[in-house]
């Protein structure tokens, strides 16, 4: 069926003669067959969001429907790849057409020619249901890709064999009640439809990120959702990159949504050289990028986060833990606003459409820890972290507010911390984690019984520091009591020697939870002994002069393989205080 263009306005094209088309079907627009999606129907007129540059389109050009919704191809070859907002491989586009992204390119998604070695895990005659594992493919050195029985298929395995196949060749035949079903290694899935699961499970364990302020003070749960808002220059992207690098997950999906091209290049160039501390494999081996940089067509920005989360759900269904990063959801919301404006919809706040909140909620709700399909239950999770770029750093704007209503974890970045080069610039006074209570049990049993105690202690000290600072502003430091001075000193040690973490330092960039625990123990020991000493009448100057204090300042550079040093440091702190008290005759 063919329609005809009657209006072109940027990425919005209106065509008539479209009575037969379904909403959200993909259409080919104009002589170059640009890819678009039907977003509104009025009589026989369809409004189409075009995902490529519409320059040169004319009234009268044809529009052809493909009779299917916008989908991504899911199968071996996703891992380590880079996709644009609508799931085309940018690596293939680069090989195909060079430096610049042209229009009307053949839709290059996964590599259909490449052969993958398939190893069955079920035998002929086995009964299988949707979501069961048929076999595996070693997709990258870090990823064992599980080939699942497609959704809606149930029956007896008639043939299945080991060997090298491309993703179009059948690897198994399943006899179902409606006949024989050939299964190949890839499926197509519409991006706007969540992939099915048996149940959402409750959230009970943290996702360890190796970032001290996050794991210790504001942990995120596996299957949880977090937002990172901050003005420009406060280090949102570095936080996102750190999470992508060091999160304890098997798969990382990174969506660069309307952000800088160089940031994507940075990931592409840097990740292959970095090694996952847990598997010893290159980080790119577990990473998938979805890139719609800010110079790429704005409409595809809207689709990019759905493309990303569909890929994340696919790996979740194999039973893996996936982390998805969206940088930045504000650009996505702006793309929504731009289309809404062109559709001449009644605007809500600041020109954003009234459905902004429900669309955001729809995205974040696709995260979670789930029991997957399949007769043998597997557990998989998708943890979602969205960056927000509020205009002027003002969190009262609609995107921030709509997001904060949904997410449980809020890492608020502060410009003033960034100006002091305190990174990560997560402001402990405004940030929160709604998972804090739920995680305590995990930390008590898996890390140390004391961990939650340390955490609430440092939170309290930071809060007290904020209050004391107000006093200092009024009357000066010298008039404070020694007890208050020590409180400020302890808070400073917490801030500078624990919370500050240098993403660009080889050692400091990642702290295992064991290291965090040991560092906290040193801090706590120092803090309690110092407070005690003040109570005993030892002066502030003498306490801060102890020798091990300088070593505390450098404890973050302790190698993961030499964590014993932190135990020795704790003993050294104790010894220093013992000597001090001895000297003072206490």
């Amino acid at each position: 069926m063919r329609g005809r263009i009657v209006r072109v306005s940027g990425p919005l094209v209106v065509a008539d003669g479209m009575r037969e088309v379904r909403l959200f079907d993909v259409v080919n627009v104009g002589p170059k067959a640009l890819i678009g999606e039907v977003i509104e129907l009025r009589g026989d007129k369809a409004s189409i969001e075009v995902y490529e540059n519409t320059d040169g389109l004319r009234v009268g050009d044809s529009v052809e429907t493909l009779n299917m919704p916008l989908f991504v191809e899911l199968g071996p070859g996703l891992m380590s790849n880079v996709f644009d907002g609508i799931g085309r491989s940018l690596l293939s586009i680069y090989e195909h057409s060079g430096d610049r992204i042209g229009t009307g390119l053949d839709t290059i998604r996964l590599d259909h020619k490449k052969l993958w070695h398939f190893t069955p895990t079920v035998e002929v005659g086995a009964n299988v249901a949707e979501g069961d594992i048929l076999g595996t493919v070693q997709e990258t050195s870090a990823m064992l890709h599980r080939i699942l029985v497609p959704v809606g298929v149930e029956g007896v395995v008639e043939t299945i064999e080991e060997g090298d196949f491309n993703i179009d060749q059948p690897i198994a035949v399943i006899k179902t009640s409606n006949g024989k079903e050939k299964v190949c290694m890839h499926t197509k899935w519409p991006v706007r439809v969540p992939r099915p699961k048996v149940a959402k499970l409750s959230i009970d364990e943290p996702l360890i990120t190796g970032q001290r302020i996050i794991d210790t003070l504001f942990p995120i749960a596996r299957g949880g959702v977090a937002a990172v808002p901050g003005p420009f220059g406060s280090g949102k992207t570095v936080v996102q990159h750190q999470l992508a690098k060091w999160s304890a997950a098997e798969v990382v999906v990174y969506i660069g949504c309307g952000e800088r091209g160089n940031e994507m290049t940075d990931v592409l160039r840097e990740f292959p050289e970095l090694v996952d501390p847990k598997t010893g494999k290159g980080l790119m081996e577990r990473t998938i990028l979805v890139a719609n940089t800010s110079d790429m067509p704005v409409a595809a920005r809207e689709a990019s986060i759905y493309t990303g989360i569909t890929i994340a759900e696919y790996y979740r269904d194999m039973g893996y833990n996936v982390v998805i990063m969206a940088d930045s959801t504000s650009r996505w919301a702006e793309a929504l606003r731009e289309m809404s404006g062109r559709l001449e919809e009644m605007p809500g706040e600041e020109g954003y459409p009234a459905y902004l909140g429900s669309r955001l909620a729809g995205f974040y709700e696709r995260a979670g820890k789930v029991q997957t399909l399949g007769s043998e239950p597997r557990v998989g999770s998708v943890t979602a972290v969205g960056a927000i770029s509020p205009q002027g750093g003002d969190l009262s704007e609609p995107v921030s507010q709509a997001t904060l209503r949904i997410v449980k974890v809020f890492w608020g970045l502060s410009a003033s911390l960034a100006h002091k080069r305190h990174f990560p610039a997560i402001d402990w006074l405004i940030s929160y984690s709604g998972y804090n209570g739920k995680m305590d049990n995990f930390y008590k049993t898996n890390v140390s019984y004391e961990f939650p105690k340390y955490k609430s202690y440092i939170m309290r000290m930071l809060q007290e520091e904020a209050e004391l600072n107000e006093v200092v502003q009024l009357v000066g430091f010298d008039v404070l009591s020694d007890k208050d001075k020590i409180t400020l000193d302890i808070a400073q040690v917490i801030r500078e020697d624990y919370l500050q973490q240098n993403a660009f330092d080889e050692v400091d960039t990642y702290s295992s939870i064991e290291k965090q625990n040991k560092m906290l123990r040193v801090l706590y020991t120092y803090a309690t002994l110092a407070s005690q000493a003040v109570e005993n009448g030892i002066s502030y100057e003498k306490i801060i002069d102890i020798g091990s204090r300088a070593k505390i300042a450098r404890m973050k550079y302790t190698l993961e393989t030499e964590l014993d040093e932190l135990d020795s440091l704790e003993s050294a702190v104790k010894a220093d205080f013992a000597i001090l008290e001895n000297k003072e005759g206490i």
Binding site: V82, A291, G392, H419, L474
Partner: protein
């Protein structure tokens, strides 16, 4: 065959409506010819049935709709480019403006460019020495970066940029270097300052000027940066040159965009600016960079003046989200006579860490910069505190910090307009200033650096 139309229905501000058009293409260039032969250009913004909405690139002054003829040229707006453009002056549409002969284009380029595949980009990592301590030492500029200058009315950003253009070089490198200077709505005096400065040191020979002055119609500003960047892309990617693009002033550009948007009666986002301002800016800024396998590069220094000194105004705000950092000027430093008045704490270069370090500048560069930042930040706080409480009420440590902050502004940030400091001079000043502190305060420095560079005090 190209048809001529005589059906201009209305002209409102920069927007023109042409009716009964058959087959106009979106975004194609439109030629408007008046009875007296005068030709202007515009582009198709929207097509609705047989009506085409056209945005004029030039003033509508004396446009007579009854007798004007319109032709749709069937191609996007292009600019003819050639190496001969170096040393010449053009208007916002890329036409010769200096009265000399026309250039013979080597090829024609679409002024909007096309998006660079992120896979094809090469990461900017070569240090550019600007000879200015507060940039080289603390907010390092890297080849292929886009680093704007956030200025305020009345501050000397013109002088600062002229100094950067004069002094910028890559250490140990003698590749071909070119400047594309795009002026949007700046005064004749400012433009003249740049041109004179470029001429006085020979830079004019390797400079392409695209000039749209304040006296010229504001809508002609919209095409200027796109034209300038197309020329830059030609010089960088086809002539292997290292191109520095100076765009001044982006605030004027954004205002022209707002004018068009409001004439189209679009729903405004913040402060009347269109909702696509971010996307539009990105179309300019993202054209900076390096491409794998190409020798040349495009480094951008856009300048913008923040209305009412407000960093949260949409123009600086959206710029900051796209560019790789910013150099922020401060009024209070300027008042104190510190030149260039760069507020290093709110300035930032995101690519700094890729461009410095061993083999590029010095192994300790990053640690030293962090230490200077931290000390200056605390020093400024201490100074503020001393203002409230009096010098004597602050702690002895804070006194040291306060005096460091003072010295830092006077000796590190402040330098003459003609003073070209090598990166090593900058380091020396930095180390010298840090000697005031007891060793325990210098937490950002590894012990071996302290031993090596701060000994004997």
């Amino acid at each position: 065959m190209i048809t001529e139309y005589k059906n201009i229905k209305e002209v409102v501000g920069p927007i023109m409506l042409v009716s009964n058009v058959a087959g106009a293409g979106y975004n194609e260039i439109v030629e408007i010819k008046q009875a007296d032969g005068n030709i202007r250009y515009g582009k198709v913004l929207e097509i609705r049935g047989n009506d085409a909405v056209v945005q004029l690139f030039e003033s509508a002054q004396e446009l007579k709709i009854a007798t004007s003829k319109v032709r749709f040229l069937g191609k996007p707006m292009q600019v003819g480019v050639s190496k001969e453009m170096l040393g010449r002056v053009f208007d916002g549409m890329g036409r010769v403006k200096d009265g000399d002969a026309d250039i013979i284009p080597d090829k024609y380029l679409d002024i909007n460019g096309s998006p660079i595949n992120p896979v094809a980009r090469d990461y900017p990592n070569q240090f550019i020495q600007t000879g200015i301590s507060s940039i080289d030492g603390l907010n390092t500029l890297v080849r292929g970066q886009k680093l704007p200058i956030f200025s305020m009315n009345g501050l000397p950003h013109t002088e600062l940029v002229a100094q950067i253009v004069r002094q910028a070089k890559v250490l140990g490198d003698n590749e071909q270097f070119a400047v594309v200077f795009v002026a949007m709505g700046i005064t004749h005096e400012q433009a003249d300052y740049f041109l004179k400065d470029f001429s006085s040191n020979g830079a004019i020979e390797r400079t392409v000027c695209v000039l749209n002055l304040a006296s010229e119609p504001s809508i002609e500003r919209i095409s200027a940066p796109h034209v300038g960047l197309s020329i830059a892309e030609y010089l960088a990617y086809e002539c292997d040159m290292q191109v520095l693009v100076v765009l001044t002033d982006m605030t004027n550009y954004a205002e022209a965009l707002r004018e068009v948007s409001s004439a189209r009666k679009e729903i405004p986002a913040r402060r009347g600016y269109p909702g696509y301002l971010y996307t539009d800016f990105a179309g300019i800024y993202e054209r900076a960079g390096r491409i794998a396998g190409k020798k040349g590069s495009i480094t951008q220094i856009p300048i913008l003046t923040m209305p009412d000194d407000d960093k949260t105004h949409p123009v600086p705000d959206l710029t900051g989200y796209i560019t790789e950092g910013q150099i922020m000027l401060a009024r209070d430093l300027y008042k104190k006579g510190i030149m260039p008045p760069i507020d290093v704490l709110s300035s930032l270069s995101r690519l700094k860490d890729k461009g410095i370090g061993e083999g590029k500048t010095a192994e300790f560069h990053s640690s030293l910069a962090n230490q200077l930042f931290a000390c200056y930040a605390r020093g400024k706080e201490a100074k503020d505190l001393a203002m409230i409480l009096g010098e004597n009420a602050i702690s002895p440590a804070d006194k040291i910090y306060a005096s460091f902050a003072e010295n830092f502004e006077q000796e590190f940030i402040s330098q003459g307009e003609r003073e070209n400091r090598s990166i090593f001079d900058t380091f020396d000043i930095g180390w010298r200033l840090l000697k005031i502190f007891p060793r325990g305060e210098l937490k950002r420095l590894k012990s071996k650096y302290i031993d090596e560079y701060l000994k004997g005090e």
